[in-house]
């Protein structure tokens, strides 16, 4: 780019305001529950009060007497149609409605269809169900004990063990531990949490039997994949299925799975011939939709006396609830947990995960995280601090001593991932400088002298996002490419459609910026659409920070295909040989005579009015982008906490986040993603947890009990960046949506454990509620 050439308006690196905001600030968003179709009916769901019970009878008479109620759907009705069970995304199956046994509290038991929302709810209230309670298993360790009640009696294997998965060099790792100078070990539990997007899940299903068309407006992050799943499961011809994902009020992974409510609305529409709306309540959303995490981890780290890491060994038990309904790539039942060697050059590593059934809702989905990366980062970043404490070295110093150096990239980890690029020390040093790390340590020393509890915590995380290369990544066999279809109209304006689906990330703006940069057309002139499977090219959707690495790359590649043709049109207009024309400074210019040029807009007009003889008219391209590798965003976070010795309350005084997501498309939006991600990292560290009692009763099933942080709990986040482009992405971008959620929890916990060093504390399981600290303060003698 010539220095004196003005940048295209809205191109890369500019903090332009978001296009989508104009409708949202006017209350003119179009979320699923805002849509009303003629003749639309409403569906509500009766749910089980028991975590495990036989259903002995469902009495529908009183429900059918409720004014406005039209029908009740039970598992027996579905069984007759072969729809009582449906496949999960993980080669398991789950119930749409039970035919005989419920397996978790709040499980769907029956659906009521009525002509109004309130009548449907009245019908649910009037429904009587007889249950015969069964023994409940909530603890995954107990679930695997001999003699434990078998939950999934439908399976051939009469056990609660789902699968065993392992990766790495078991013998080599064991040998490295045998010879290690230093070993540390820790049990870490990462509890069940819930994404709690502000919009709950729901749909409007409409089977138009006259035209044979099935349309579903649905809160989904992956509309195209859903269309194919519907076709495969129901046998409906795929061209007659239309999935529309309108404005989505946050997803974070919770809107990837197919929930029974969607299927019930579809069945109800087929039966009644009317459009049927189902919108879940928040309590239903928290109690029955897919959860995240629930990993019981035992981690061991071997190192030398001088603090060089050598080997990592991790054994994990995953609680999947009553079915494995996670949303991981087929090859990886534990997701990308094996990014667990993190930012460090371990020579040997071995990871194994076992999965168990319990009487809890299904899941194991993400919570703003790329397939179990949060669990991995939390583990390695906690273990590094535990090692630092053992060796009595500063946690920053230990990290700086061990980081994979910038010149080692591309770097292949002990567990087989090839990291694309990184400068880990650069990010940590920047964070230390911004927060005045040395000054904080001096302050801490003085405060410890006075018995005050102040802690500083570091997390230097490496993410793995952008799933993914087709050689390795698929969901149910569908390769994880993504797509862009770009069309330039005669007047030089653009419509572009994508296989992804924004849920607040701002794709309408950022994709337009990529195209603006590639095409020399202002972002204001580029309209971006997603989410309608009738119009958008096929793609796997938005989750796991994959949109920029895949569909963003497809935007660039489609634009470059357009440029290839446009260059030939430009040559025709300039009356020179195409080889003498180059794309430079947002225009096609005659080599050596840059003033002789044609803009993309001029070329676009010619593409419809004056294209060269023998060339097809029009100016458009489609690209299905299969990334050659994953991208590896990284960063270093430093958290400062003060702990109230009277109450055990943690106050996050400062939190500096230095992120590196490669090339930045829109700095304002990237910062917004980091702010939100940090808050969803703070939440499980300090507040959020879904617990169950021994009978399988959920604790934390409403917003009264499940503490989503408000503006009061959330600190003022401080952000900064380093930029290390991805060498394999067309514009060098890596993706950013989840980095902060992944990186933040260990920074918070490391800070708390650091504050409690005088009490000899090595670890506290999240969420670190005040009572956990209070107990430590009142049961241990400090050595200040």
């Amino acid at each position: 780019m010539s220095a004196d050439v003005p940048r295209v308006k809205g191109g890369l690196g500019q903090s332009i305001l978001r296009k989508e905001d104009q409708r949202f600030i006017r209350g003119k968003g179009n979320y699923v529950d805002d849509i009303k179709l003629p003749g639309m009916l409403y569906l509500d769901i009766a749910r089980s009060p028991y975590a495990h019970a036989k259903i002995t009878a469902i009495h529908t008479e009183n429900t059918l007497k409720v004014p406005g109620v039209l029908a009740v759907v039970t598992g027996k009705d579905l069984e007759a149609a072969g729809l009582a069970w449906m496949p999960t995304l993980m080669s398991d199956k789950q119930m749409v409605l039970p035919t005989d046994t419920v397996m978790y509290q709040a499980q769907e038991v029956a659906a009521v269809v009525a002509d109004s929302r309130y009548a449907a709810a009245d019908g649910v209230a009037a429904l009587e169900v007889d249950y015969d309670p069964l023994p409940v298993v909530v603890d995954p360790f107990k679930a695997l004990e001999p003699g434990a009640p078998v939950i999934r009696t439908d399976r051939k294997e009469k056990s609660n063990h789902i699968w065993h998965w392992e990766t790495g060099d078991r013998a080599g790792t064991d040998a490295a531990f045998d010879g290690a100078e230093v070993q540390v070990a820790q049990d870490l539990y990462i509890p069940r949490i819930h994404v709690s997007s502000m919009e709950t899940c729901g749909c409007i299903a409409h089977m138009d039997s006259v035209n044979g068309r099935f349309t579903i407006y649905m809160t989904t992050q992956a509309p195209h994949a859903i269309r194919t799943v519907i076709a495969l499961v129901t046998g409906l011809p795929e061209q007659n299925i239309r999935v529309v994902s309108p404005d989505i009020g946050g997803g974070f992974g919770g809107k990837v799975p197919v929930y029974p409510g969607y299927v019930l609305a579809a069945v109800a529409s087929i039966k009644t011939g009317h459009p049927v709306k189902w919108i879940e309540d928040r309590s239903e959303n928290l109690q029955a939709d897919s959860f995240a995490r629930d990993y019981h981890i035992h981690a061991e780290l071997a190192a030398s006396n001088d603090g060089k890491v050598a080997a990592l060994r991790v054994k994990t038990l995953a609680d999947h609830g009553y079915t494995d309904a996670a949303a991981n790539p087929s090859k990886f039942p534990a997701g990308l947990f094996h990014i667990i060697t993190g930012s460090y050059p371990f020579a040997k590593a071995f990871v194994e995960v076992d999965a168990a059934y319990t009487n809890k809702p299904p899941g194991g989905i993400a919570y703003r995280c790329s397939f179990r990366v949060t669990e991995a980062v939390y583990t390695i970043e906690r273990m590094m601090d535990i090692l630092a404490h053992r060796l009595k070295v500063d946690p920053a110093e230990l990290r700086l001593k061990n980081f994979i150096p910038p010149e080692a990239f591309p770097f292949t980890s002990a567990l087989g991932w090839t990291y694309d690029s990184g400068n880990y020390a650069g990010a940590l040093r920047k964070a230390m400088e911004i927060i005045d790390y040395a000054g904080l340590r001096r302050e801490q020393k003085e405060k410890r002298g006075r018995g005050e509890l102040m802690g500083i915590g570091i997390s230097s995380f490496t993410e793995i996002v952008g799933a993914g290369p087709s050689s390795t990544f698929d969901i149910l066999g569908i390769k994880m490419f993504d797509s862009a279809e770009v069309r330039i109209h005669p007047t030089g304006k653009v419509i572009a459609r994508f296989g992804t689906k924004s849920q607040g990330q701002g794709h309408e703006t950022t994709y337009a910026q990529i195209l603006a940069e590639e095409l020399g057309i202002p972002a204001d002139d580029i309209r971006v659409e997603e989410g309608d499977t009738d119009t958008a090219p096929y793609g796997l959707g938005t989750y796991a920070s994959r949109s920029t690495p895949t569909a963003g790359a497809a935007a660039s590649m489609a634009a470059r295909k357009i440029r290839d043709k446009a260059r030939r049109i430009a040559a025709h207009l300039l009356e020179v040989n195409p080889d003498d024309v180059e794309w430079k400074d947002y225009a096609f210019r005659v080599k050596g005579v840059p003033a002789k040029s044609k803009t993309m807009q001029e070329v676009a007009f010619a593409a419809y009015t004056n294209h060269p003889p023998g060339m097809e008219a029009g100016l458009e391209a489609v690209d299905y982008y299969d990334p050659p590798n994953m991208t590896y965003p990284f960063g270093s976070y430093i958290c400062v906490v003060d702990i109230d010795p009277e109450t055990g309350q943690v106050k996050v005084r400062r939190f500096v986040a230095v992120d590196d997501c490669g090339t930045i498309i829109n700095p304002m939006i990237v910062d917004g993603q980091i702010h939100g991600g940090l808050t969803m990292g703070l939440a499980p560290a300090l507040y959020e947890e879904i617990q169950y009692d021994e009978s399988g009763n959920i604790h934390g099933g409403t917003f009264m009990d499940y503490l989503v942080p408000t503006a009061i709990e959330t600190p003022h986040w401080e952000t900064a960046k380093t930029v290390t482009p991805s060498p394999h992405h067309p514009i060098g971008a890596k993706g950013v949506g989840e980095s902060a959620t992944v990186g933040a929890p260990p920074a918070v916990v490391n800070a708390i454990v650091d504050a409690l060093q005088p009490y000899g504390v090595e670890h506290i399981d999240i969420p670190v509620h005040p009572w956990k600290i209070w107990q430590i303060l009142h049961t241990r003698t400090p050595t200040f």
Binding site: K36, E199, A711, T714
Partner: protein
């Protein structure tokens, strides 16, 4: 599927033919008269009877604030108010923030400070902010955070919402320097 013989009637309201009461109120400056079942929540009345879908529903325990509207100028959670309770009163929703086709300072500032992402909490958040700034056009960060503590946001981490509200305050102050400003 067990079904009753009743014919299907398109849903005209949120309820199905129970006892109804007449409500007369003003919504965004315009008079509204309707017959509603007494149990109809204000949020359902606004969304489903009046078609004002900018007011959202994010929970069932009055925690999230996505349904915040103004009732006689004060923010209320419209999921916790019955439509029949607001008879004779003034309701203002997000659709009523624009004045004469011009965005309000709060709406402008939410865009300019990137105070929204998915947009679901935004209408409620802006209604709370608008009322805060009508009382206090120059709020400190703690005052802003305190004011919006009943409005949950899952996307933004609140930093830019706080900035947006303070920016809106600055706009209001510069527009009406002598009076102290009204949102």
């Amino acid at each position: 599927m067990s079904a009753s013989a009743r014919p299907v009637a398109p849903a005209a309201s949120v309820t199905s033919g129970g006892r109804s009461m007449r409500v007369e109120l003003t919504v965004n400056g315009a008079p509204v008269v309707a017959e509603v079942e007494p149990r109809t929540l204000l949020v359902h009345f606004l969304r489903e009877v009046l078609g004002l879908t900018g007011t959202h529903i994010g929970c069932d325990t009055s925690n999230c604030g996505a349904c915040t509207v103004h009732l006689d100028g004060k923010p209320v959670k419209s999921c916790t108010v019955l439509a029949v309770q607001v008879s004779g009163r003034q309701v203002r929703t997000v659709e009523g923030l624009e004045i004469g086709g011009k965005l309000s300072p709060v709406q402008e500032a939410f865009v300019e400070a990137h105070g929204l992402q998915c947009g679901f909490c935004t209408p409620g958040m802006m209604m709370t902010a608008t009322e805060l700034l009508s009382r206090n056009p120059n709020p400190s960060e703690p005052e802003v955070r305190d004011a919006i503590r009943g409005n949950l946001c899952r996307c933004t981490g609140y930093v830019n919402i706080v900035k947006a509200i303070q920016l809106a305050g600055a706009k209001i102050r510069s527009a009406a320097p002598s009076s102290g400003g009204k949102a």
